[in-house]
């Protein structure tokens, strides 16, 4: 799964730490998602979407491998 978290974070001018606080997870989780090492749960994906004011599918996208 690909995601645009890093891009959205830049648009909203948030550090990983700040985004992590807003979403209520650890900084490692944001970092792992951005590095495509971790596929978040649906709940977490929805929360990230809400912070950026976007639909989940505008941030997360299926990969060829999925």
């Amino acid at each position: 799964m690909k995601n645009r978290i890093k891009v959205e974070r830049a648009i909203h001018n948030l550090t990983q730490e700040e985004l992590a606080k807003k979403v209520g997870v650890s900084r490692q989780t944001i970092n792992a998602m951005e590095a495509n090492k971790y596929v978040p749960s649906t709940v977490l994906a929805l929360k990230v979407g809400r912070i950026f004011g976007k639909q989940v599918e505008e941030i997360f996208e299926l990969d060829e491998g999925d």
């Binding site: 990983q16 951005e34 977490l44």
Partner: protein, 159 residues
């Protein structure tokens, strides 16, 4: 992974304070590097011993040296506290690291045990069994700490 089985985060600190000394004591006890004082006590034994005399009777209470018992109990309790207390920022990703560390530890432990079964015999195997009682917890703790450390230091691409 259900978080309901994990202890609150505060137990982690207490766990570490007990874990380090009991690990050292455990090494002393099993290697005889340093002789610990004997603590003899009269204890209830769940599996009875049979006495040698004619009127064979079961003995439920035995006289034993409690040093090994105390060290073993301390080690297990403290290792459980260290391994199964919540992290300060326990979330779904940390839970996944925890679970994958546990899988890794069980697998690695049984590979070691399998090799020991094949290559270690006699009294040496007794030593293997002795350590094997504690290695799952040890391997799990070390693997989990390592994964946490690695994920904390992976911030090269912050911006």
């Amino acid at each position: 992974m259900s978080h309901s089985l994990l202890l609150p985060h505060q137990y982690k600190k207490i766990g570490w304070w007990l874990f380090v000394p009991s690990l050292l004591l455990g090494i002393f006890v099993t290697t005889n590097l340093y002789e610990l004082p004997e603590l003899n006590a009269h204890m209830f034994s769940l599996i009875p011993e049979f006495s040698q005399d004619k009127f064979a009777r079961t003995i439920w209470f035995i006289d034993t040296n409690l040093t090994h018992t105390i060290v073993g109990v301390l080690f297990i309790i403290s290792a459980l506290m260290v391994g199964f207390s919540k992290e300060q920022n326990e979330d779904e990703y940390i839970a996944r690291l925890r679970l994958s560390s546990l899988l890794w530890a069980v697998l690695f432990n049984y590979i070691l045990l399998l090799l020991s079964f094949i290559f270690v015999y006699g009294f040496g195997f007794f030593t293997v069994m002795l350590y094997n009682m504690f290695t799952v917890l040890l391997l799990f703790i070390f693997r989990f700490r390592y994964l946490l450390y690695r994920s904390k230091t992976a911030f090269a691409d912050e911006k």
